[in-house]
């Protein structure tokens, strides 16, 4: 076992890991942050997406042991001062989910997009979620939710 420190949503977590443990496994099973979902655990669904220094990665394909030097953001880290993130608010208002399994990954990928491009075109949004599956087929509403989240974030 190797001791590491993960910086998740601004909080430091000390944890011992094996080299082949995925970041997704450690976040969920060792740290109890179950907002991040795991669907396929082989990079084909997007539900495990987290941000490392602001960029989206599949946490199932990332070695936890190689994640210590980054600021990690999971879905639990998005709301601030008791207020939902504009994207979370928009997903509720636009019904951007049915079962909700894909939602954390979708919102995290969308946050990475909006942080880089606050006024995304519809194609930019579709590209940003290109690696994300929604088994309920809510894609149209997900795109609308992200568009609305972008508007809320811009204050209109």
């Amino acid at each position: 076992m190797h001791p590491i420190t993960l910086n998740i949503n601004g909080e430091k977590h000390e944890v011992s890991v094996r080299p082949h443990w995925s970041l997704a496994y450690v976040i969920r099973e060792k740290l109890g942050l179950t907002g991040t979902k795991t669907g396929c655990e082989m990079g084909t669904c997007g539900s495990c997406t987290v941000l490392l220094d602001g960029k989206p990665y599949f946490s199932c394909l990332r070695m936890a042991i190689d994640s210590g030097s980054y600021a990690i953001t999971t879905i639990e880290g998005l709301d601030a001062d008791g207020k939902l993130h504009p994207l979370q608010q928009a997903f509720i208002e636009e019904h951007g989910m049915q079962c909700g399994f894909c939602t954390p990954g979708m919102i995290i990928a969308a946050k990475a997009l909006l942080d880089e491009n606050p006024v995304p075109a519809e194609l930019d949004i579709r590209e940003a979620i290109g690696g994300h599956l929604c088994r309920c087929g809510t894609y149209m509403r997900i795109v609308k939710s992200i568009q609305k989240g972008a508007r809320i974030a811009r204050g209109n």
Partner: protein, 286 residues
């Protein structure tokens, strides 16, 4: 399983040599983590190679040098590979629709996988060389010699890929890349990369047609018959279609992703598409 995170190349070489075949270099880890149970069960030492200073894209003496741990996202957004004579690299990455994989996967990882990946096909069409390092020094192997069969490459015990080099294309040269996949999140079923040079009277003076992900051999291959049709001709519609049709000389694999028959058809389509893109770009280059 042990884990190493060396800070320089010599340290990495020592570990790779010491553990021999029980050690593997890991870069983006997108393939390693996805296949760790089936393919890497016997691995005793994981060597993280991301702190070795191998993330760079630069031009040196007329060759594009790409460090092994340069990510696909970096190839997509960096000026040298996003525009100009090497934009084929950004165009190849653009066809991989998963942003999260682009952020993690590296060119070294892509090159080492002889199978359903895109970059080796483009590198074959661009006459690239793979620079290999180990405790015993460095050696260079051409992309056409680097893959040895499905999931097999030319690396020997203790070696790793440190750089990919691509000769600068001559004047009036353009590249095109095209591919088919089942869904955005799946691996390619067929890919094709083409490089064309226009000579006097807009006749084709040099041509490379490479096809990957579809072949029985499991590795990217040049479609020699298609290249022959293109060479020395003016690239009108008829010749382009004839060249694409000639790429059916490539023997396609039959597997759960697609039948050999379907792949053969799609090779033709992908090659035609890539030729047209290459021709457009060649016409734009001075």
């Amino acid at each position: 399983m042990e884990y190493f995170n060396p800070g320089d190349l010599n340290e990495a070489y020592e570990i790779l040599m010491k553990y021999g075949d029980a050690a593997i270099p890991v870069a983006g880890s997108t393939f390693f983590m996805g296949h760790r149970e089936e393919l890497f069960d016997e691995v005793d030492a994981v060597v993280n190679i991301k702190r070795l200073g191998l993330s760079y894209i630069r031009l040196e003496k007329g060759r594009l040098c790409i460090g092994a741990t340069t990510t696909l996202a970096e190839l997509h957004r960096t000026g040298l590979t996003a525009k100009g004579p090497f934009r084929i690299f950004a165009e190849t990455v653009r066809e991989l629709k998963i942003m999260e994989v682009r952020n993690a996967a590296t060119i070294g990882g892509e090159v080492c996988i002889a199978g359903e990946v895109d970059m080796p096909t483009t590198l074959l069409a661009y006459d690239a060389d793979i620079v290999i390092g180990s405790r015993n020094g460095t050696r260079t192997v051409s992309m056409s010699e680097f893959h040895k069969g499905y999931l097999k490459n030319a690396l020997q015990t203790g070696e790793m890929v440190i750089e990919v080099q691509v000769p600068e294309p001559g004047r009036r040269t353009g590249g095109g890349f095209a591919k088919f996949e089942r869904t955005a999140a799946d691996l390619p079923i067929v890919n094709a990369a083409v490089r064309l040079t226009l000579g006097r009277g807009d006749r084709c003076s040099d041509a490379r047609v490479a096809v990957g992900a579809a072949t029985v051999s499991g590795i990217p291959q040049r479609a020699d018959a298609a290249e022959k049709v293109l060479l020395d001709g003016t690239l009108d519609d008829e010749r382009i279609r004839k060249a694409a049709a000639a790429s059916n000389s490539i023997e396609c694999v039959n597997d759960f992703r697609a039948s050999a028959e379907l792949r053969t058809l799609w090779v033709e389509c992908a090659v035609e598409d890539a030729i047209r893109k290459a021709l457009t770009h060649a016409g734009e280059e001075k």
